[in-house]
Symmetry: C2
Subunit: 136 residues, 2 copies
Amino acid sequence: MARQGSQSASPVPSLRIGEVARRTGLPVKTIRYYCDEGLLQPKDRSAGGYRLFDEENLAELAIIRALRAMDVSIPELARILEVRRAGVCNCAVLKDSIAAKMESINLRIGELAAMKDELARLLSSWQDCGGSKLQR
Amino acid sequence: MARQGSQSASPVPSLRIGEVARRTGLPVKTIRYYCDEGLLQPKDRSAGGYRLFDEENLAELAIIRALRAMDVSIPELARILEVRRAGVCNCAVLKDSIAAKMESINLRIGELAAMKDELARLLSSWQDCGGSKLQR
DNA sequence: AAGAACCCTCCACTGGGTAGAAGCTTCACC
DNA sequence: GGTGAAGCTTCTACCCAGTGGAGGGTTCTT
């Protein structure tokens, strides 16, 4: 078993990707993908090239995870995280994108409900098809 | 302009892909894609290799269009159309897949509603952020 | 020093199309 | 019968948000 970090002074000096995966519940591949896409910037690399993450990265991943679950796109997330990284209050940005997201969720729910109605109509109109031969 | 079909005896002897696109409202590329995926089998080819469609193809496209709008997947559609092509009553198959679709729509609506609630909670909890400086 | 666990990059694949290139076919009109 | 243009063909590559695997290097424990 490869354990790491013999120091116990600072709480989270540097986490490797596997540990981050364990803590966030995201697959290692996905975290690496987020790095590639510029969403996440590991604070450092080990001498051997391993990505090293810190608590700030964990916080960012929490945001990413939450907003992805709400179908916020990767480019949108990149925008949000960039603003956040700049140290500016990102309430406005977040609020805008969340409001837009709620709007699109409402639309989508409406569409799905309409579909459901249509499917129900279909089903009830076929009530009487016994199942013997063609009606193509 | 390239017009076609000087015969006017049979109502729909053979339509080329562009005309089918016009009648169904689907992009030419999409119809070709459906052919490639085996959903649609043009009744013939011209001497020059053009796909030639008939009314049965139009009916199939109508089904494809309607079910795709309800997020029925391409492989599922292939299954449905195959059964239909076999001349057997496909009520059972359709009913099953429609019932399953309704179930998944219900699930999805539930998920979306939960998301919306969560977003609303987020928004209301940020009510008081004026927008000046960081709170990262 | 060995071995296990971990990590790296690179490439290919998913689904449901969409975009473009290079070249062939069909048609109306002259 | 020639010409122009629209229409069609196949092929390749791209989109999103990852996921899987190959092949090889690093870190840690024993």
